[in-house]
Subunit: 425 residues, 2 copies
Amino acid sequence: MSKTDNASKSASEQTLLDQAKEVKDAARHLALASTAQKNEALELCASLLIDRTDAVLAANQKDIERARESGTSTTVIDRLMLNKARIDSMAKGLRDVAALADPVGEIAEGWVRPNGLQIRKVRVPLGVIGIIYENRPNVTSDAAALCLKSGNSAFLRGSSGAIDSNLEISSILSEGLKKAGLPSAAVTLVRDTSRESATEFMKLRGYIDCLIPRGGPSLVAAIVENATVPYVIDGDGNCHIYVDETADLDMAVEIIANAKVQRPSVCNAVETVLLHETVIGDLLPRLEERMPTVEFRADQASRRFLERSVLATEEDYAREFLDLILAVKTVTGLDEAINHIRRFGSGHSEAIVTNDYSASKRFVAEVDAAAVLVNASTRFVDGGEVGFGAEIGISTQKLHARGPMGLRELTTEKFVIEGNGQVRA
Amino acid sequence: MSKTDNASKSASEQTLLDQAKEVKDAARHLALASTAQKNEALELCASLLIDRTDAVLAANQKDIERARESGTSTTVIDRLMLNKARIDSMAKGLRDVAALADPVGEIAEGWVRPNGLQIRKVRVPLGVIGIIYENRPNVTSDAAALCLKSGNSAFLRGSSGAIDSNLEISSILSEGLKKAGLPSAAVTLVRDTSRESATEFMKLRGYIDCLIPRGGPSLVAAIVENATVPYVIDGDGNCHIYVDETADLDMAVEIIANAKVQRPSVCNAVETVLLHETVIGDLLPRLEERMPTVEFRADQASRRFLERSVLATEEDYAREFLDLILAVKTVTGLDEAINHIRRFGSGHSEAIVTNDYSASKRFVAEVDAAAVLVNASTRFVDGGEVGFGAEIGISTQKLHARGPMGLRELTTEKFVIEGNGQVRA
């Protein structure tokens, strides 16, 4: 029995609250770790993960077998399944995060008051980041890496379906931390994956400084209803592209095709195109030709220019298809497009294709979303694509972080005020 | 019957949800208002408030009479009471906010990606700010001013005790907005001040973008338990000052006296001093002499050097006195001081008085609070004192805003991504 197994055994008797206390205590130490020490830990974790590939695959096999026995769909099993290439990619992810700049200690702002007080706002770790996620075991190391680099403990609550893989991966990460002289509990996996424990997890106020759910609408609804810990919502993307009458139609075709088919299952894919009534005749046949695998759900006016389409319903405009389906709506102008987005948008990513200066300015100002784009694909709204190197999610809320979240969004600020005896008059 | 009275009448039949819809719609318009227009509105509101002094005082008189009839304490009545000077001060507050820089449109960051995409993070209003507050009618105009200047609607939920004053003040502000060509509903006072409506208010998800409670621990607890809207907690301040063995004791005496007696009823006043065992003999008699009106609750070791003191209990260290009471604890060094703060601190403001470089660095790094101070009074942790011009509160949470909150903390950021046809590879 390896050292890791022993650690897991003794840990198996812990309650969720016991685990919460350990992970919080670890956060205190991690917050003071140097960048070099955190990077060393990430490198050690990456090496260990490669060394232990067989053990991870064996654990993963248990999860796969349970899933097969219970008749789980092949799509879900594919998400769950690890292989050598996927483990290599997880290890590379750890090393990539080690190479990113450390946000901790950054001075966001600083100034001197007339009385000589020196004021700085300094970035510090949040403390404990809670992550609730579904059947993807790679999230265990991906999320942990971002938490560690930003000086936070990672408190991970994966699914019961991936519990064996997650336990193996998290114990490897804990070992890497220990080897680097950091507390092993800085990566802690919740062992109790019951439904009740998820609710208990959301109520660990005082132990979890920021909860980030990685899941669908029902998880988000449960958090809004039950959580007493602070959270950041990584919500749906019902994204639109509005093609203005002045748009370069070649550009519009390529942007829409990219936003729809390059990866239809993700939140920043486009779901509805809003087309100025003057462009539908030229544009729609080209869109249909450019995207032969896409189903068009269109309004009456635009269906005249489509060979294969079904009539769009209100529900189609409200839905995030996450599939090769595109809703189409003809509009009379910018106002109607903005009103449609106001009604159906989820506040994620909204784009306009135009060559009209005023229209671009109005769209950017009046559309209320985490990201607004002019003449670019919605698929760029992503931590990697905007230049953060990695992302922990895309926030669709307005407080704390909005849009792609990188390492900096896993920090908070502390006022540091230095004087030489100042008192208030 | 004045125009204002008419507006109030028709408004009195509205439900809370009706009001929420109006205030949200107003926010959309206000978000696009120019700085000049918002400043004009604030100036008009200030002038109207002065012109209508008699009407405000008459309304306030109704609140005062009800309070007297129900046997309300004189302290509470004093908070509720308006007079000409207080109304002048509210008007001055509106003008002071007009003079502050507008955070809306500020580019927090901007960069260009290798593919030519131009990315900016632009500050935009949050939308609707909800404020729940107690018996001080001046909050109605103070909070509204900060919301308006930052482009947000103010959705105000004051107490039933101040309802007549609040209705009069808010209708004056609405009239000022209208005169400036802005929607009058951008300042909306909740008319139903029942307990149930407070809970309903906290659950107006989709209508309130940020809720800021201005009240005691029971209000905060109710929000943590019930709110489904995003909120920022303006929490307790159980603040400490640690006097290190290297401290300049003259400085320590002045800082402690300032932090305790300059205004004992506020959250950034000091509640407990932690004194290095080597300084208690010199320091305590001087503290006692410097603060003759303060009651000392001290541990055994320090009581030897105090003429008048009571023995401190654990509860004394946990309490925010908000009064002329000071808890005293002798410590053997920095570690014990930091551990005491970790156990009892509320994450508000913590100070060290020292001349030791390493001790100052460790204190700043290891104490987890919104603000840490070296050789300065905790009373400086305040929006005005740090240079924000005004404050809407002091956040003791870590997400979104931490420490004093000015206009910028009432905004969120929007990613604006401009390209010329970029698609993702």
